[in-house]
Symmetry: C2
Subunit: 110 residues, 2 copies
DNA sequence: AACCCTCCTATTGACACTCTATACGTGGAT
DNA sequence: ATCCACGTATAGAGTGTCAATAGGAGGGTT
């Protein structure tokens, strides 16, 4: 992840990947582009962050993959959300809610 | 940092420490308690996270320290915000704003 | 054919941060 | 005496992200 967000969001990358895949199955770079899109360009996920995360999440069973052809006729590995992945997205979304609430409280404090 | 927030907020600890010290100088454990307070109990910073962060931030020049006596008559190292620290808090606050906005966008996306 | 560019996946090595666990000294209470 | 709370401190491990790099494969150009 980059673009001046650097380093801030441990664990949040997973949430963004899961959220991206809600829109439907897509390959790695597709996920990367979608994240950039839905965050208004704020987050740019580079390959060195993306693929390790994807592999890890597949091991955890949150996503599944299969080889296919991209829209440009290239070999591409597609990912899709599993049931466990949807559950996980929900968990992480709630967690994010708690955390951003807490930080908002802190920043408002006098 | 702990209490089910675990691992999520790389870099945010600094912001919370800086924000805590806006209320006035205090010693290490005091900072820890204040963070817990202003985040509504969501964040609990343990010594193993707190002190390394404090040392690092002092090296960066964001806070300065001096030895004194605590309210319980014990030796305690007090920390206070420097001018650079106030500046840094501002920088990190703005960054947080951008990031939480971007993630909110992402989570609202369809 | 040779070439280059883009797409797409992938790995490596370094780095930064946080956590758990542990340690130690001291003041106050029982 | 003993025990607990206070307060600071460090070591070691684990995790996640990054920059840099690699390489195959398709499409276009010359």
């Amino acid at each position: 992840m980059n673009s001046e967000s650097t380093t801030l969001l441990q664990g949040t990358l997973d949430m963004l990947i899961l959220k991206s895949l809600v829109a439907g199955e897509m390959h790695g770079l597709g996920v990367s582009r979608r994240i950039q899109q839905i965050t208004g360009g704020t987050f740019v996920v580079k390959p060195g962050s993306l693929f390790p995360a994807l592999h890890r999440m597949e091991e955890e069973g949150w996503i599944s993959s299969f080889w296919g052809d991209s829209e440009n006729n290239r070999r591409a590995k597609y990912y899709r959300l599993t049931k466990a992945g949807r559950k996980q997205l929900e968990v992480e979304t709630k967690r994010w809610g708690r955390i951003s609430w807490a930080i908002a409280q802190a920043l408002e404090a006098s």
